[in-house]
Symmetry: D2
Subunit: 434 residues, 4 copies
């Protein structure tokens, strides 16, 4: 994880301290159930909690042990024994390292998802607020980067709201899928451990039971999770790209908030660069790059190999940390985005009414022209306007083939913005119904 | 799509004939509603259906027109006018090409998903059947490719069943997400078309209404769809890899069915190669490679650019066709897999009882040894067995430090396969409960 | 390969007819050398050439045989025997299928590279021509989409020329790497075939000898090849993105050529959309998506597995065909690009001289201001100009802190375009030196 | 970068301290040349070196300034002014941040490449040593995981040697491509800076001059670099996969060195897992995942946008650090690999001579059988042997159709390992010629 793109809340989930705390809880809850089953002494389970529940695990010490034994769980258990004493030998009975590691990863990924959902909510709230604010702020809609027809800035934001709402639902499903616990032993058969231990730990840790595991929780769950993040990242990229376009010198319909003291360019002091959204574009790539390795991780050999582990040590923290940061940066951009309605109007006027061309086309057809003919009539009056030769409206009114079908009055009526915004409420009702 | 990895059912969904048929239906249903609204003559809507509902669209003719006008929808509409006659000018009123293209793509992707779900069902049925058949077929479980503890072949298959069941659920959700209709005009504002046209077409085509579109249906829906395919492909790879491993000369616990007349190797006639599952491994890569470009497609400029189109012309058919083929090939592999239980037993016996080591470790701990001591005792008797020096059981019985804690009788009891399979029913109940 | 993005020259390389022709040549050349070595009768080698050199191989017949024997090379050899007769039994002696398949793939990928290099040359020639034409066509340079300082359109194109020249060099290296022949038998040991057969075939087919093969030519060669294509595709995307930006309604400094009869939009007849470059953006994604599976293909099991094969049946033709098409489409765009120098000038003037701000900053520093102070002075005169309040030049001349350091005359001199273009020749000399 | 997969040598290249040191050198060398040109006072250039050449830059202080000004280069320059004093205002004259940032990145990536080349050399040396050691260690070659024909362990290693040698050459080329310096100002036109500054700094920093830059060094160079790393990572995966296969319980022809004190499994103490090569498999995925975002970074907008920056902050250090670690881990695996020649022989004998089947096939063909007939004869004697019914040699000798063509003596001669190893020297001469 790159420090400058890291929020401490998310980093904390992935810290060693947090990891060892979760490991402890899994082991201690498992011991509780084993004690109930009579597999280990009740007293042992009690002592484990008493001695270690409040203890600070010594990360450096565990690292030191690991360097010797080259096995992280054994290193942790050894350190736990240093804290708990003799009863520690009852910990981890019949369990395998992956029971602890994988269930812990589930807990971390679940917590990370929760934090990401909070971030999504902030983005959604910002989008909704600004969308309502600009529901009627008319601007030109563009396809292929070319002026098409009028829309409103609120509608633009509504498309993002709906998209992020979908992303949130997918994330919630990914969260549900990853929130599983497996304590099933070396090859998933519960040979050395009773299935009720798994059920007990799952319940205590807020997880569902993995119906069948090998030595590990199957990696299709993780792959689906990272894929959900990848799609959200791509939606972030879409919104970031929109802002970057709107902030271009020639367009300038909106701008990232530029704080006092911030310097845009070491060389060109007047420049206000959309660096936050450019940065978000890059972060989207970073988050997305985890998707393929997460999918490559699925095909583990037989009951498991450990090839997924190094991948997850990377993408687990990195993808969630960078996406978390990106969501909050994005929310900030949306919340503080400076919008220039006058400029939107100016840009729309620039093409001399060409944005009303489709309506003219339609009116001509309805007045009896064939589609082909209407197209030709519009084009021969539109192209000069496009080149700056006369306004489209004037050209039409001066074309006798057009006026043979539509009167000047009828043509003028077609150049009406209200025509384009009349269904905005329908859209807003659909998107913001709840 | 690669012909040899193509089933005609899926190819048909993506054929030009199928595409133009869907385009027609969208246009004709839209005309119906426009007629009801009085936007176009009722008679026109009727004639459109009458003249074209049964017509064969001439793909070559449409291609010819497209070469001239360089626009596929206009080419189609021109050809439609050749069939329908004068009333054709009422078709497509107030609509934009993307209304047709994107809704059509939704229909195709929805149908493709349905076909894929059928394929998933076949795989699931095969897995369930073989899992139940081999519920008690004991074989060694392996982690890191190394013998671990016994499991059953049925449990192995159960893990795949559960994984494909998850894949199916994700696919169903992706299907639901893509089954949307957008007929909202040039920038999504319904300026030239009434929203009820969209509602009507959606209903007729079996789709939901897209709450807010730009000119296009937002591509996060498509990205999520291809990601769902990518995860399924990865699960296919996992199962394919399992079979490939089991068919290795040294393992040979299972084998792809080898039909009469099939030749394994041009040079080595005895060879039976797992070529189907190797092929599936490659197909998984092909399906997976669509995920990133599908995500790159999300960030279209403003109300749309057309960069996604060429990508989708490739990955739309290719990913669904190849995955469809892969699912049926996989089902075939599972249905006909030749399983060798005796060889499974032989392989399990090969390590002289080492697979019972964890149970011995556990018993020693319960008999009072510290975890560290138990580990040492097991290891010093296991390692010689591993090197082929004495059976593990004999070594243990000859180690006085061990026998100080466990009698020979008590040790022998630990070498019992039933111990490892006692919870298989729990697993099967969880996985196959419905 | 998508028909509309396919040029027949490249498709031909990947046709079945072409493949079988290459297979035949490999087998026949191998037979020649084996005859020289006395392994097979000289007469046999002669008859093989005589009977089959001019023969048309019957693709449908080979397909039919393959459906039965499920092995493509055996199917081909069987068909060859139908043509050649009894002597056909001397063909393929001691060879393995991969000897033929892999060497053939090398030939195809080499020929594909040659065709791609031709395409690169066309792009380079177009870029050079237009760069020289517009060497002095001044336009604004933009960082972050914001006006920065003046450059020339020729310099823009020169950056692409240099980039494509690098791409070509990498492609030439990839071509050299893939142009290898392996005829080394079932596990690469030349057990059943003399190494001189490989040397002979290599020479005849215009290839180098693979120093050591397993059963196959190692796939790192292919991965490097597809990676080289992926980087070129990314450069295409950069140029396509540049054109798309320049063609935006608000910028309109350049435009794709719009042919007579072409229709831009079914709904908005005036629109001229940069659809070629948007399409190129998508094609870039399609080409790039082959890179990861090509890399996943490297880690074949032991002396080979066949997982790479289905991948290569897809990406081999698709990536080269789509890149080939993209290069020619790109060349076409560059050759015919409509450039609007007046609009470039207009856009540059829009910010009222702000593009000269760095030079002012520099002059202030050289006149004794600290960097911090100079920055402040520039910014306080630049920001109003940015908001449309006064021209930058006028603002500066009205700021007494500025004029305390620089006279009005000295300030005016700083607003000189020639200052920015004085080193263009240096750049052109570097880039177009040969 | 993941600490446990990080070697300090590589981490140092990417440290803040190292970065600021390089920034300083670029600025100071630039100042030297500017002083020569008379753009800044000679004394200033001298003072800059004197005051800062030995200085420790205070990373925390620079961070603090950056938090305020939100611009890293300005923060550094401000801190430099704190060290150098008044003369600092002559630093960075006419330069733009990217001149410093991009040239620094080139230096870092060049140094990283050098370190990676050292790692490659270690891998190559280990492979060569072990290949020569095992040149004649016969083992079975496998295609599709199935026994094919004999090869030697040395030949296996030779294929990797040749592959890594190619990887090294590609890396050297990538290094050459990235070793460029750009000091060309805000849009690459040298408006405010003389081109000779760039030439001077390039020479001093051991770089070539970038012939034409925009504001940045073009990212195709970086993409090619990360692609080169990705192919090497894939080769690592191939070798890791080979070792993992050889270490499987059923194969056990080689094993990773298992150090004293290392614990294989917390539950199964006898297990020796190929965890290093499994880990390398995962690291390969991590390195490879940088390739696509590096390619996505190419298409920056106009003269630059900053979307690449966050990506490179991630993949720059991560990919080089993880690959560096992987190379040394791999070298370690190869150097210490425990090889079991007896087991190789045992495995080879397991199939009762089936590995000689192709030679028998060939001999039958040469004795007059048609290819089809020979295939049939071999297969009907091979398949029983495959099922464990009789040795292949015995079966053949008992088949009168076979003995009608080949005498028992002639058949026996075909079962000769020497036949398979006779060309090993040819291969070794090719691979290790230098």
């Amino acid at each position: 994880m790159i420090p400058r793109y890291t929020r401490p809340e998310m980093a904390a989930i992935w810290s060693d301290a947090s990891k060892y705390r979760i490991w402890f809880e899994i082991e201690a809850h498992a011991a509780d159930r084993m004690a109930e089953l009579g597999v280990i002494p009740k007293e042992a389970a009690k002592v484990i909690w008493e001695k270690a529940e409040k203890a600070e695990f010594d990360v450096a010490r565990i690292d030191e042990i690991e360097r010797e034994v080259k096995h992280d769980v054994i290193a942790f258990l050894t350190h736990l024994a240093e804290i708990v004493g003799d009863e520690a030998r009852f910990v981890h009975q019949g369990m395998t390292s992956s029971d602890v590691l994988d269930t812990c990863l589930s807990v971390q990924m679940t917590r990370a998802a929760d934090l990401l959902i909070t971030g999504m909510d902030r983005v959604l709230a910002a989008l909704k607020k600004r969308a309502l604010e600009h529901k009627d702020t008319v601007c030109v809609g563009r396809s292929h980067g070319i002026h098409a027809e009028p829309t409103t800035f609120g509608v633009k934001l509504a498309t993002f709201y709906a998209e992020f709402a979908r992303g949130k639902r997918r994330l919630e499903m990914a969260r549900e899928e990853i929130a599983v616990c497996a304590i099933s032993g070396a090859v998933g058969t519960f040979a050395n451990i009773d299935p009720s231990v798994e059920t007990h730990v799952a319940e205590k840790m807020g997880l569902q039971v993995e119906p069948v595991s090998t030595q590990v929780i199957p990696r299709d769950r993780h792959a689906a999770y990272f894929a959900a993040l990848g799609v959200i990242a791509s939606s972030i990229e879409r919104l970031a790209t929109e802002v970057r376009h709107l902030q271009r010198s020639e367009v300038l319909e909106a701008e990232e908030f530029f704080s006092k003291g911030q310097k845009g360019s070491s060389a060109m002091p007047h420049k206000r660069n959309p660096i936050l959204t450019e940065n978000l574009t890059g972060l989207a790539r970073l988050v997305r790059m985890a998707v393929v390795p997460a999918m490559e991780n699925v095909a583990l050999w037989h009951e498991r190999d450990i090839s997924h582990s190094s991948v997850e040590r990377g993408i687990g923290p990195d993808s969630t940390v960078h996406l978390d940061f990106a969501l909050h940066r994005l929310a900030n951009v949306v919340e503080n985005l400076v919008v220039y309605p006058e400029r939107m109007q100016e840009n729309m006027d620039r093409l001399g009414g060409l944005i009303f061309s489709q309506r003219v086309l339609l009116a001509l057809t309805q007045a009896g022209a064939s589609r082909e003919e209407a197209y030709r009539l519009v084009q021969r009056n539109a192209m000069p306007a496009w080149r700056g030769e006369g306004a489209f409206l004037d050209n039409l009114k001066g074309d006798s083939d057009v006026t043979a079908k539509l009167s000047a009055k009828e043509i003028e009526v077609l150049f009406d913005l209200g025509y384009h915004t009349k269904n905005i409420d329908v859209i807003f009702d659909r998107v913001f119904k709840d």
